[in-house]
């Protein structure tokens, strides 16, 4: 056996992969967007599995409250506020020095993603918001790259594999976002729910990267580990022939400038304004319930709602527009926004 491959012997003994599948995996480049709970698990899994290259994108740094569920990171990474993508890269190099790891500390916007997509073989979902997911979905469709969606909150999670030209896309499945405010910052998250999602994402990734397309799961998995529920749901009926992302005349709306969430510092103020993308519904009352339930201070008047979290004050208008006070940092403002709204 090739001595470079010998470390993967237990994966090659698995017949559907075998030595041929291992060689295929070793040629592949996976892009993981978001290096939080999901992204640290899937990047560790794919680095150990022996992909050629991993690109990791994350705009955030390691915080102590991440350590409860985000693998790869240590107390020192949190104390030094190391950027997540860079902290992950450092650990992954110690785990498998044969894998090329590229860390990008930035917001995963359309311009960045289109710039690096050229030789990517697989898109892996590690993000915490649907704006970025719809962007990944459009990218997947435009460049014909499989996209392994996953998300979780509390003990609840879901995973689905999108194969362009074969399965429905994320836009077919979820036309309008249910922004009900259940985020890891409002209702929490337990690490086993993360692992359950990444077990599915990882298995799908290995199937795709090793060339076992016939084994790819065709159903949408949804589970609750605390309630002991597991559903495997057929999704074919949701494929839309006129879908703007995967239909007959696609427009890839999230790759068009002007369609994305707009985030800008208000002139001369320590405040960032956020206007969400168009396809989101905005049930402000439900959000308020979630925030109160999470113990956050909520105030307001008939025209707006204010909520205070981690020292920053966010003000929401009924149309979904938000002002994040106390910062001029766009990424910090996005982080607060997504932690409150989803």
């Amino acid at each position: 056996m090739d001595s470079q491959l010998e470390r993967y012997s237990r994966q090659m003994l698995f017949k559907p992969i075998g030595p041929e599948g291992q060689i295929e995996i070793g040629k592949k480049h996976a892009l993981i967007v978001g290096v939080g709970a999901l992204g640290t698990h899937t990047s560790e899994l794919l680095a150990r599995a022996g992909v050629r290259k991993l690109t990791l994108i994350d705009r955030d740094y390691v915080d102590r409250s991440n350590l409860q569920r985000q693998h790869l990171f240590t107390e020192r990474d949190a104390a030094e506020q190391w950027p997540k993508a860079e902290a992950a890269k450092e650990r992954l190099k110690n785990i498998n020095s044969q894998v090329e790891v590229e860390a990008i500390v930035a917001q995963a916007d359309a311009a960045l993603l289109e710039d690096i997509i050229a030789d990517v073989d697989l898109l892996v979902d590690g993000t915490d918001n649907f704006e970025t997911r719809f962007l990944m979905n459009d990218l997947s469709q435009k460049y014909k790259i499989p996209y392994v969606f996953g998300s979780c909150v509390g003990s609840f999670g879901m995973a689905f594999t999108i194969i362009p030209g074969v399965t429905p896309c994320l836009q077919c499945l979820i036309k309008r976002l249910p922004l009900q405010g259940q985020t890891c910052d409002t209702v929490g998250i337990i690490a086993p729910a993360v692992q359950m999602v990444t077990a599915h994402q990882g298995a799908e990734a290995l199937k795709i990267l090793s060339g076992n397309m016939e084994a790819v799961r065709k159903t949408y998995v949804s589970f609750d580990l605390w309630e002991n529920e597991y559903l495997s749901l057929k999704a074919d009926a949701l494929k839309e022939s006129n879908c703007l992302s995967c239909g007959e005349t696609p427009e890839y709306p999230f790759l068009q400038s002007g369609q994305e969430m707009k985030v800008a510092v208000l002139c001369g103020r320590d405040t960032v304004q956020i206007r969400p993308a168009d396809n989101q519904s905005f049930p402000l009352e439900k959000l308020v319930d979630q925030w109160r339930s999470a113990g956050l201070a909520v105030g307001g008047n008939p025209f707006l709602i204010s909520v205070t979290k981690d020292g920053a004050k966010a003000v929401f208008f009924k149309d979904g527009r938000a002002l994040i006070h106390g910062t001029k940092d766009l990424n910090e403002a996005r982080k607060i926004y997504h932690s409150l709204v989803g």
């Binding site: 649907f130 609750d224 529920e229 057929k234 009926a237 519904s281």
Partner: protein
């Protein structure tokens, strides 16, 4: 009767993870309106609905004893 399984936020809103209602003959779209008007679930905009382990569109007609699941796509990760 039809069983409806509720997850995440919806389970919280309803106070239980399973409810039983008679909605056979209704379309899935009509089920949405019914649940929004008659239960504490509130807006079901964006909620995915499966009947007998298969996601269906809003024009799908629910049959007797069909089992329904309401899946809210959550954003965490």
């Amino acid at each position: 009767m039809n069983k409806i399984m509720l997850f995440a936020q919806l389970k919280e809103d309803m106070g239980k993870s399973l409810m039983e209602v008679e909605v056979s003959g209704k379309t899935v779209g009509e089920l949405r309106v019914f649940l929004e008007e008659e239960t504490p679930l509130g807006s079901l905009d964006g909620i995915m609905i499966a009947v007998n382990e298969e996601f269906v569109k809003d024009d799908w007609v629910i049959g007797e004893k069909d089992e329904i699941a309401l899946i809210p796509p959550v954003s965490g990760g």
